[in-house]
């Protein structure tokens, strides 16, 4: 029987930002898409405050303000770099790696 592992990074864009901006560690964080259109990543704290995935920013701007949520534009250079590091790290676990998205991969045991 073949076993596959699905690897999915938690709150990936928010986690990338936190790795390099530790001040974001204990506060709710959301990341916006290109041109600050929609929310595309949320830290656990932001999820708990009820910010839905993909919501247009103008619809949750007040909620973000009210809860002092840190709102960041996306930094794809950073996320791409961290993604490469993640994939290169898990590639050491198995030679059968299928990269599925910037923060997801399948691994054949």
């Amino acid at each position: 029987m073949t076993i596959y592992a699905l690897i999915d990074c938690n709150n990936f864009f928010a986690s990338c930002e936190r790795a390099f901006f530790p001040k974001l560690k204990n506060c709710p964080v959301v990341i916006l898409s290109n041109n600050d259109g929609c929310v595309i990543a949320r830290s656990n704290e932001a999820k708990a405050l009820g910010i839905p995935m993909g919501i247009p920013y103008f619809k949750c701007k007040e909620l973000c303000k009210a809860h002092n949520i840190k709102v960041l534009s996306s930094n794809y250079q950073l996320y791409g770099d961290v993604s490469n590091r993640v994939m290169n790290t898990i590639r050491e676990l198995s030679s059968h790696l299928e990269i599925y998205s910037i923060d997801e991969a399948f691994l054949k045991a």
């Binding site: 390099f20 530790p22 001040k23 250079q77 950073l78 770099d81 490469n84 590091r85 290169n88």
Partner: protein
């Protein structure tokens, strides 16, 4: 932050030391090029470059604006120069243990070591990575 995977120019390093006088005739076929990424970076996936700010490490020959090579996969043991995060702010210090207590010690007599408290009453401190090299243009 500077990405280590950026291409940098490759200088040529001769494998024998430069001496006055006649060079070894066998040397010509043994020359190798020095790849600075390879030389400075043991763990590429865990290595980051940061730029030094401030003068707290001048006695360890780390000056303002130096580029520090930081390896996040190395265990920070006593004596290592580390990047620490204190209350959300990055700082470069030497990790020291004095009388069983951990300190982040500057390499500058004008500053005092910072005690890392184990209880929750103190600052929030974590070690972000270990500094393995310093890069400076002269």
């Amino acid at each position: 932050m500077i990405r280590p995977d950026l291409t940098i120019s490759v200088p040529i390093l001769y494998s024998s030391k430069v001496q006055a006088g006649f060079p070894s005739p066998a040397e010509g076929s043994m020359d190798t090029k020095l790849d600075l990424n390879e030389y400075l970076i043991d763990h590429p996936v865990a290595t980051f470059f940061v730029r030094m700010a401030g003068d707290s490490m001048i006695e360890a020959s780390i000056l303002e604006n130096d580029i520090l090579v930081v390896d996040r996969s190395i265990t920070p043991i006593a004596g290592k120069i580390v990047i620490a995060v204190i209350n959300g702010e990055f700082t470069v210090k030497r990790l020291k243990y004095i009388n069983n207590q951990a300190y982040l010690a500057p390499e500058n007599k004008n500053y005092t070591p910072i005690l890392i408290k184990t209880s929750s009453e103190g600052d929030e401190v974590c070690i972000w990575g270990v500094v393995t090299s310093v890069v400076r243009k002269l």
